[in-house]
């Protein structure tokens, strides 16, 4: 029974990893770029949400907000921050016909943004973890002895909706075709009238939305936020993405769930100290046995959406 309970919990944890892993894989799939600001965007939504729920807007512009409103604004801040990163790092520094060494420029500058934003939040709010005033813990369903918290169930539903929506967007919509065209062949996309400077911000907007949403779900389900909350989630999401296959949305979904499951089962059987070994061991094993990941292709980072 306890094992089934752990399985349910792992799906909940995994759904947070899934959302962040999808954000990573989207940027890699379309732009061939590992966006290191993703963990910060995740953290920003949680911390801004907490600050708004705890204090309200700065300079006394408003009193403390209700938690759903606070999280909504937290997600908006994550989206805006992501667009700012696009404008200031990716677009500014992007070299048009870059080789692999030039890809290091947006990568390193996004790492810079990660550190600057995280430390700005630390300066503003301190390094301590804060209790997030989410929905009451009593909202629980008992299904044959297995406890499922209703906020977790709602979160899972939201994650599924977002991933299905994103898949639809990429597969069926005009903007999705434009994104895939740029992912495969930017030159050919350009001569057909796809404007890179209009399409690329869409990727960053979706990244901000996914990370913000994941941060909000994390705050609600685990009741705690901190300036460091993005670090562990970010690295586990990268592991999930690699296991699933770079650039594949459904690979990121499966990989995120596998990492969540591995984590919970390791805790259950071997204790919390072994989690990192198990997750990263899984990653290394994947790289040895199936380097392209479960759903990935051999050509890493090119047109697989």
């Amino acid at each position: 029974m306890l094992l089934i309970q752990q399985f349910v919990n792992s799906i909940m944890l995994g759904s947070v990893y899934v959302t962040v892993a999808v954000a990573f894989t989207l940027t890699i799939g379309v732009l061939n770029f590992l966006n290191f600001t993703i963990p910060t965007l995740f953290m920003l939504a949680g911390m801004v949400g907490w600050a708004l729920a705890h204090w309200g807007l700065p300079f006394g512009l408003s009193g403390p907000m209700t938690w759903p409103l606070a999280l909504f604004f937290g997600i908006c801040v994550a989206i805006l921050a992501s667009l700012l990163v696009e404008r200031l790092t990716f677009r500014y520094l992007k070299t048009k016909y870059g080789d692999s060494t030039e890809h290091a420029i947006p990568l390193v500058s996004s790492l810079g943004f990660l550190l600057v934003l995280e430390n700005l939040v630390r300066i503003g709010y301190g390094t301590d973890a804060q209790r997030f005033p989410g929905p009451s813990a009593d909202l629980t369903m008992n299904i044959g002895g297995i406890f499922v918290r209703i906020p977790q169930l709602v979160s899972l539903g939201i994650v599924v909706l977002i991933v299905v929506g994103l898949t639809w967007l990429l597969k069926r919509s005009r903007i999705g075709r434009g994104l895939r065209a740029i992912a495969e062949n930017p030159d050919a996309a350009n001569i057909l009238g796809v404007d890179t400077n209009r399409v690329v911000p869409v990727v960053f907007m979706l990244t901000g939305l996914l990370c913000g949403l994941a941060g909000a779900l994390f705050a609600v389900n685990y009741g705690e936020v901190s300036p460091q909350m993005g670090e562990d989630i970010g690295t586990k999401a990268i592991a999930g993405m690699v296991v699933g296959g770079l650039g594949s949305i459904w690979g990121a979904v499966l990989g995120g769930l596998i990492v969540g499951l591995t984590e919970m089962m390791t805790i259950h059987f071997f204790g919390a100290d072994t989690v990192q070994v198990a997750v990263w061991g899984l990653l290394l094993l994947t790289l040895l046995l199936r380097p392209q990941g479960l759903f990935g292709h051999h050509s890493i980072g090119k047109g697989k959406l």
């Binding site: 065209a181 495969e184 057909l192 009238g193 796809v194």
Partner: protein, 247 residues
């Protein structure tokens, strides 16, 4: 004139790829640009489509100055490039490739224009939901032309369209170019297959090391005995030569 290019210079760093080029294409005219490997033909077309910014010169299309315009503005104005090596999206289906051709169109006729491509090329219709990577070289060229055609261009620029095609497909391709031209589309054709290009074109330019060294009617160019020897590397019609143009 549909397209008027004057004094166009294209530079890549220290390389002066196109020097002071002045060319024009009339409404509904077929004009060809000939030249050996590395003569600057592809650079010229890329500058015309806005993929590279010219160092100097003017590009006027349909009376509008498009010298500094974005590629999307040029597509909207009616210029479409069928790039060298076809550049179809192999990770997409045939149908999605054609949809990319109407990327900037929001009118209801776009879907009908795609159906018209299927009527014209039944091979593509049969494979509409397959990945474009399964197409043969000739079919890929049909797809690349179809993709440009659904954008309803007034000027279609083709970069080495016969490259790597079987002789049968080459003659089908040139028939198609004539057919498109008869429907009112101006054609700017860059080719190494001089004989075929001069057969369908009304006028031609010869590029050598980035400069236009000869400009005449296609008839006179075809009769010019020194053309092949002097400017085009002597044996450009042998199939073995028709590989790897890149400049």
């Amino acid at each position: 004139m549909l397209l008027e290019v004057s004094g166009l210079d294209v530079r890549y760093g220290r390389t002066h790829a196109v020097k002071n080029a002045t060319i024009s294409v009339g409404e509904g005219e077929i004009v060809t640009v000939l030249g050996a490997n590395g003569a600057g033909k592809t650079s010229l077309l890329r500058a015309l489509q806005g993929a590279v910014r010219p160092a100097s010169g003017r590009i006027v299309f349909d009376g509008k100055d498009l010298t500094g315009a974005s590629p999307s503005a040029r597509v909207r104005a009616g210029m479409m490039l069928v790039p060298e090596g076809r550049q179809i999206f192999v990770s997409m289906t045939v149908h999605e490739n054609l949809q990319m051709g109407v990327y900037l169109r929001s009118d209801r006729d776009a879907a009908r224009d795609i159906e018209a491509i299927y009527d014209r090329f039944p091979n593509l219709a049969e494979r509409r939901d397959m990945k474009a990577s399964v197409l043969s070289g000739g079919e890929q060229q049909m797809l690349a032309i179809g993709r440009a055609l659904v954008g309803r261009p007034r000027l279609m620029m083709l970069d080495e369209p016969s490259l790597g095609l079987s002789p049968l497909f080459v003659s089908r391709l040139f028939d198609l170019i004539v057919e498109l031209n008869q429907s009112g589309i101006g054609i700017l054709l860059v080719e190494q297959n001089t004989t075929m290009a001069l057969e369908v074109a009304a006028r031609g330019y010869v590029l050598e090391l980035g400069s236009i060294v000869l400009e005449d009617t296609a008839e006179s160019l075809a009769r010019n005995p020194t053309l092949t020897e002097a400017y085009l590397g002597g044996h450009q019609n042998s199939p073995s030569h028709a590989a790897g143009e890149n400049a």
